[in-house]
């Protein structure tokens, strides 16, 4: 049956990159880092005791209003180790996040998508893709001195019929690459 293999996505791999959190009582945002912009994501999901590894790449759009942020995630996961499930999946979604000093936490809702031909990359045009389960993700992280975001993500599935493996770990580094969508990438200057 064709549908089976594509559904074998290791949902554990899936992560989220944003969240809403409760600002701890008494917390004061005296020095709020400027985080607004577009970030490139690089990360990995591993499962303890399993060979499966998935590289994560994509974009995070972060809008900021003081300590409160909203996020948009468009990411892809591609297998780099193991053999279960399709070779790639995509995640799209939105979330919210709250800063406490240089720490942040939040949550997001992410829709997973997989190519209906598991051997083909999700980015291949014209190939039908199917909607997979939705993930609720909780993120915690910090803002490094250079503005890079380091995120640790935990995800739960919405709805019955799925579980995620124990021992999964998703870590993502987000590097700001632009303030807004129309910021051109810098071109290499001619020699």
């Amino acid at each position: 049956m064709f549908a089976s293999p594509l559904r074998r996505m290791t949902l554990a791999l899936v992560a989220a990159f944003a969240a809403q959190a409760v600002l701890p009582a008494g917390a004061v945002a005296e020095d709020v880092p400027d985080l607004a912009g577009i970030y490139e994501l690089v990360g990995e999901t591993v499962v303890e005791g399993q060979p499966d590894r998935f590289a994560i790449s994509g974009k995070l759009v972060l809008r900021q209003n003081g300590n409160d942020c909203t996020t948009i995630v468009e990411a892809a996961m591609r297998r780099t180790g193991g053999a279960s499930g399709p070779s790639s999946a995509a995640l799209i979604g939105t979330g919210e996040m709250t800063l406490t000093g240089r720490k942040f936490s939040g949550k997001a809702e992410l829709q997973s998508l997989v190519s209906q031909v598991p051997e083909l990359d999700v980015a291949a045009p014209f190939t039908p893709r199917s909607v997979g389960p939705v993930l609720h993700s909780v993120t915690e992280g910090e803002v490094l001195a250079d503005g890079t975001l380091i995120l640790e993500v935990r995800s739960d599935l919405v709805g019955e019929g799925f579980t995620l493996p124990e021992g999964r770990k998703t870590t993502v580094k987000a590097t700001r690459v632009a303030r807004k969508a129309t910021d051109l990438k810098k071109k290499a200057s001619a020699p």
Partner: protein, 441 residues
């Protein structure tokens, strides 16, 4: 959001190695007389003069499209790009029998424009949106894709990514033909045909994707309400597997990282009408690139698409009468909250569309360039056929999508697109044969 088929997914997940278990106001725009005229050249310093004739959503994102050095030639206003007599005659003959059924389905359609545009009252008719959507889906587009070479590129804030797809797209209509030679079969190419269209691309490059072939059937029953509609069938030949996979998809609306187009974003809307609620939002006059004067891929591979690679500003633009419709997905899985589509009333070709995410923020902007078969260079590629001596088609030859949230986008070019039908029944039979996908491989 719930998975569409939790039970099936659960069963499959059990096989996996990882922990298996269990209302709008009409908004007619009347900007007054334009300050430009045919023959004018609009450069970046004059761009304000065209603002009243662009969708506000487009103007708000103009930094992607208008740039220093651009040279927009103003072409004729309201040129006649209407379809050929064979389509117009079918509209006169059959439109009285076409009607909307349950869930915006279409009943008793035979050929031509199902609901003549001049009879639709956008403001007063609550079904105007659905009628226009059907007119759009069934617009005049010839009856085939004999050969369209495509180049699919990926862009990120002005940088072309090292990823592309190149190949040939083909297709054929199998029903609703208005030419007299199909009168005896009620418009079917093959008597009793259940399919409406068969189409699919063949990928020639890059090397690791070379030989991927797709074939999709869309069925006549997709015009009906959901309970009666048969899903599209798609077969995909994957060379590395040396086998054909069959896919049945209810909708092809997902967006993925790396590809900003959803499958149904092509031509602004390439989906199934009854899967949406439709509204007509108003009528207006708009400028758009409706008859390109500069060819692109595969003829001219170095055409200027501006600093973001996603602009048609450096071309001929024309003033057109347009209508704006909105779809609202009925399926909760759909990534869009709604999409607004601007359509040229004369040709029914897409001009612009704007997709909004589930939070209601503008997410994707889609627009198009066109070629008119009345132009001599294009008429050599897209020729007439039996009972259609002049195809009279203003054809989309490039789709661009811009993700205005991330600054990424895709451009698909197919400037040699011809929609004349395959010239023999034998060729059509071979094309729609799934066995073709593996032959010669």
């Amino acid at each position: 959001m719930m998975p569409r088929s939790t039970g099936r997914l659960a069963a499959v997940l059990c096989l996996s190695l990882l922990a298996p278990a269990s209302a709008f106001a009409a908004e007619d725009v009347a900007p007054g007389a334009p300050s430009f005229k045919e023959g004018d050249v609009i450069t970046i310093d004059k761009i304000e003069s065209i603002k009243p004739f662009l969708p506000p959503e487009f103007w708000d994102n103009r930094d992607f499209f208008f740039y220093e050095g651009m040279s927009m030639e103003i072409g004729p206003s309201f040129a006649d790009y209407s379809p050929p007599p064979v389509y117009k005659e079918a509209t006169k003959k059959y439109s009285a029998q076409a009607k909307l059924g349950p869930e915006n389905s279409l009943e008793s359609y035979r050929a031509g424009q199902p609901f003549p545009m001049e009879s639709i009252d956008c403001k007063a008719d609550p079904q105007a949106g659905a009628k226009i959507a059907w007119n759009f889906v069934l617009r005049w587009e010839g009856f085939g894709w004999g050969r369209a070479s495509f180049y699919y590129s990926y862009w990120d804030r002005g940088e072309e990514l090292p990823l592309f797809y190149e190949g040939v797209s083909q297709g054929t209509s199998l029903a609703f033909r208005p030419e007299p030679q199909y009168d005896d079969t009620e418009g079917d190419v093959f008597r009793g045909e259940k399919r409406y269209i068969a189409s699919g691309p063949t990928v020639n490059a890059p090397f690791d994707a070379r030989g991927i072939v797709l074939l999709t059937y869309r069925y006549k029953s997709s015009f009906g309400p959901k309970a009666e509609a048969k899903n599209d069938d798609t077969w995909v030949y994957v060379p590395t597997l040396r086998r054909v996979r069959r896919i049945s998809s209810a909708q092809r609306t997902d967006a993925v990282s790396g590809t900003d187009f959803t499958f149904d974003d092509l031509f602004s809307f390439n989906g199934v009408v009854p899967q949406y609620e439709w509204k007509c939002l108003g009528e207006m006059d708009l400028l758009a690139p409706m008859n390109s004067k500069i060819e692109g891929y595969p003829v001219e591979k170095d055409r200027n698409f501006g600093p973001y690679g996603l602009s048609f500003a450096d071309d001929r633009w024309e003033l057109r009468h347009a209508v704006k419709i909105r779809f609202i997905p009925l399926n909760a899985d759909h990534p869009y909250k709604h999409k607004d589509i601007y359509i040229d009333k004369n040709s029914m070709e897409p001009m612009y569309s704007f997709a909004y995410d589930r939070k209601g923020e503008l997410w994707k902007l889609i627009w198009h360039n066109h070629r008119w078969t009345g132009d001599p260079a294009y008429s050599k590629i897209y020729k007439g056929w039996e009972n259609v001596p002049d195809p009279r088609d203003d054809t989309v030859v490039s789709d661009v999508v811009v993700n205005v949230q991330t600054g990424t986008g895709n451009r698909i070019e197919f400037w040699d697109r011809s929609l004349e039908p395959m010239d023999s029944v034998g060729k059509i039979r071979r094309f729609i044969d799934v066995g073709r996908l593996t032959k010669g491989r």
